[in-house]
Amino acid sequence: MTQDVEMKEQHQPSNSTTSSPSTLHHLKEIASLIETGAYAKETRRIQRAVRLTNTLRRKLKASVLYAFLNFALSAGSESFNRLISYLPKEDEHEMEVDTATSVTQAPAKHPLPELEIYCYLLVLIFLIDQKKHNEAKACSSASIARLKNLNRRTVDVLASRLYSYYSLSYELTGDLAEIRGSLLALHRIATLRHDELGQETLLNLLLRNYLHYNLYDQAEKLRSKAPRFEAHSNQQFCRYLFYLGKIRTIQLEYTDAKESLLQAARKAPAAALAFRVQCNKWAVIVRLLLGEIPERTVFMQKGMENALRPYFELTNAVRIGDLELFKSVAEKFSSTFSTDRTHNLIVRLRHNVIRTGLRNISISYSRISLADVAKKLRLDSANPVADAESIVAKAIRDGAIDATLDRANGWMVSKETGDIYSTNEPQLAFNSRIAFCLNMHNEAVRALRFPPNSHKEKESAEKRRERQQQEQELAKHIAEEDDDEF
C-alpha cells in the first residue's frame, strides 16, 4: 500500500516536467493531487499541492483562473458564481475560448469540498497579487464563512493557508482590528476540532493582530493561555518565536527574549530575508539592553548591511559608552527607529550607555573624583556631581562595577579584581556547559527515534502484550543494575 503511493508520487512530478508547461495544465494536476489526497485522507499530498501552487503564483492570469474554475466547480453552483464575480472582466473573449475546451474535458460532477476551498485560495492569492484589496477582503470573508461549516481533516492544510491570506487582505487595507473577533472564534473552532495546524496559524495571526496595535498585554494573556503543542510548521514556529521575543522584550524579560529572537532568526528559511532582518534588529537591541555587545559579523550578514546600519552605529555608541554620540545617533536615525517601532526601546538604552561608560572608567582608574566621572560621562544636569554619586552607588549595588565610594573626599575607589579561580565560579560554569552538551546529545538521540504510536495499528493485541512484558523485564533489569552501581 505505502509503496503504491510513493510510486504514484514519483510519477506526477516527472509528468509535469515533460508535458507542456501551460499553467492551466499544472493547475489541473494540482487539482488531481488534491482529489487523490482527499480520497485517501492524506494531508501530505494536499501540503504538496499548496507548495506547488506557490511556484505557479507569478503565472496566474484571470483567463487561466476562469478556465480552472470552470473545470473544477460545477457551472451553476453558488461558490462558482461568487468566485467568478471577483475576477476582472476585461478579457472576456479570451476566456470563452479557453472555457470551451475545458468544459468538454470536465465531466459534470459534484465538486469535493477540498477542491472548492482550493479554488477560493487560488482566487484569493490572485486578487492579493493583483492588489485588488477590497475584492480580496470580500473573497476571504466568503471563504471563511464557507470554512466554518466544513469539518474535514483534509481541509485543514488549505484552511490554515486561507486564514493567513484572510488576515493579510485585511492588514493591507488597515482594518486588522475588525477581524479580531472572527479570528478568535476560528481559533476556538480549530481547538475544538483538534486542528493543530489551524490553531498554530490562528494563534500567530492573533498575536500579529494584537502587536500591530501594540496591545502587548492582551497578546501575552492570550499566548500564555492558548494550548501549546509541538510545532507542525517551521514557518509558523518561527513567527511564534518572533512574537514571543517581542512581547518578552517589552516586559523586560531580556534573557528569554534574546533566546526566542535568536532562535527565530536562526530557524527562519534563508528566503525570508525581511523576517530575518526584523529578528536581528530586535535581537541586537535586546542584547544591548542585556549589556552584551553583538559581534560585528551580525551586522555584516549578506543582504542586511544596509538595513542594520542604524543599529550598528547605535551599538558602537553603546560600546564606547559615550552619551553624546548615543544621542546624536538616536536623533540621526529617529525616523528609522520609529518606523521599526523600536523607539521606546532605544530610550531605555540610555541607561546602558551610562553603565558601559562607568565600567570603562572603573577599569581604567583605581581612584577618580566624582566630578571627573560626571565630566567623562557627560552628564548634563543641574547637579552633575550628586547625580554621578547616586548613579555610581546604584551601579555598585547592581553589581555592574566593583568599587566603593568615599563621601568625605568625593572619590570613587575601584577594588582590585580578585582571582576568580580561587572561588567555585569556574567549576560551576564548567558544569553548566557540560550539562548543556549532554542535554543536547540526549535531545538529538530522542529526535532520531520514531514518533510514538506510528506502528501501533499493525501490532496485534497479543504481540503488544509480549512486547510490554519484555519492556518491563528490561526496565527491571536496568533498575537492578542501577542499584548495583551505587
Binding site: I250, R350, S390, I391, A393, R397, T404, A408, E425
Partner: protein, 267 residues
C-alpha cells in the same frame, strides 16, 4: 431626553458636588449608585450597541469614571484607582473614535504610569507606554512620568526628587510622596553597598530627613544592622565570594557520577 440619562446626570451632579465639598463618604456611596445605573446603558463597553443616545451615554460614563479615578487618588486608595482606571480605559482606546478627546485623558494616563512606577511594576509600565502615540509622549504629563522612570533606572535620585517641584497637576502629589519613600529605600539600599561609612549629617542629607532624630528612628526600624560609631553610620558589608577554602565534595561527587552515567549511555 431619555429618563435614565437624566437620572444619571442628576446623580452625577450631586456626586460632583459631594466631591468638591470633600465629603468622601457620600461621594463613594453616590459613585457606587452611579456605577450600577451605568450598567443599564447598552451603548457602553463591552456591548457598544449603537443606541440613539450612544454619544451622550458614553461621554457621561467616561466623565463618571474619570471622576472616580481622581476620587480614589484623593482618598489614597490604590486598589480602587486600578479598578476604576481599567473601567475607564476602554473609553479611551475603543470608544476613542466616536467621542471627542477628553481634556483629562493624558493627565489620567500619566497618573496611571506614575502609579505603576510607585508600585515598582516596571514591565506593566512599559506595556502601557507602548500603547501611547508619539503625540501623547510629547504631552507634559506623560513626559514627566517617562523621565521619572529613566532617572529612577539610572539611579539619578535627586532628579526624581526635584521633579516633585514641577508636577503638572496637584493630583500627582499623592503619588510623588509615595515615590519619595520608595526613593529613600532605594538610596538606603545603594549606600549600604557603596559606602564603608557615612557621617551622620551626610546620611541625613542623602536620605532626606529634616532632623537627625528622624534618621536614627529610621535606622532603628528599617536597618537595625547599621552601626552608629563616632558620629558616623557604619555599614556592615556582607562578605561575598570569599576565596573558597573547602572543596564542596558531596556536590562534586554527585556531578562526576552523573557525567559517568551520561557518558556510559553515549558509549
Amino acid at each position: 431626553m431619555d429618563p435614565k440619562l437624566t437620572e444619571v446626570s442628576q446623580l452625577f451632579e450631586r456626586f460632583k458636588a459631594a466631591c468638591t465639598r470633600e465629603d468622601f463618604n457620600t461621594s463613594t456611596n453616590l459613585l457606587s449608585q452611579l456605577k450600577v445605573l451605568l450598567t443599564g446603558f447598552r451603548s457602553l463597553p463591552p456591548l457598544f450597541e449603537n443606541t440613539p443616545n450612544a454619544v451622550q451615554e458614553l461621554t457621561i460614563a467616561r466623565d463618571v469614571f474619570e471622576h472616580a479615578v481622581l476620587l480614589s487618588v484623593t482618598i489614597g486608595d490604590q486598589e480602587a484607582f486600578e479598578r476604576d482606571f481599567f473601567q475607564l480605559k476602554p473609553y479611551y482606546t475603543d470608544a476613542g473614535s466616536f467621542l471627542p478627546q477628553s481634556p483629562q485623558e493624558y493627565m489620567i494616563l500619566g497618573l496611571n504610569l506614575l502609579r505603576l512606577l510607585v508600585q515598582n511594576r516596571i514591565a506593566e509600565f512599559h506595556t502601557e507606554l507602548e500603547l501611547l502615540s508619539p503625540t501623547a509622549l510629547e504631552n507634559p504629563c506623560i513626559k514627566h512620568a517617562v523621565e521619572l522612570e529613566q532617572s529612577f533606572m539610572e539611579g539619578a535620585y535627586n532628579r526624581v526628587l526635584s521633579a516633585k517641584q514641577n508636577v503638572p497637576y496637584k493630583t500627582y502629589d499623592y503619588f510623588m510622596d509615595l515615590l519619595a519613600k520608595t526613593v529613600r529605600d532605594e538610596i538606603a539600599g545603594c549606600s549600604e553597598k557603596a559606602y564603608d561609612y557615612l557621617s551622620i549629617s551626610d546620611a541625613r542629607q542623602m536620605l532626606l530627613f529634616p532632623s537627625e532624630n528622624e534618621l536614627l528612628e529610621y535606622i532603628k526600624e528599617e536597618h537595625p544592622e547599621w552601626e552608629i560609631k563616632n558620629g558616623s553610620v557604619v555599614f556592615q558589608k556582607a562578605k561575598e565570594s570569599a576565596p573558597c577554602k573547602e572543596i564542596p565534595s558531596l556536590q562534586l561527587i554527585n556531578q562526576t557520577l552523573s557525567y559517568a552515567r551520561e557518558l556510559e549511555r553515549i558509549v
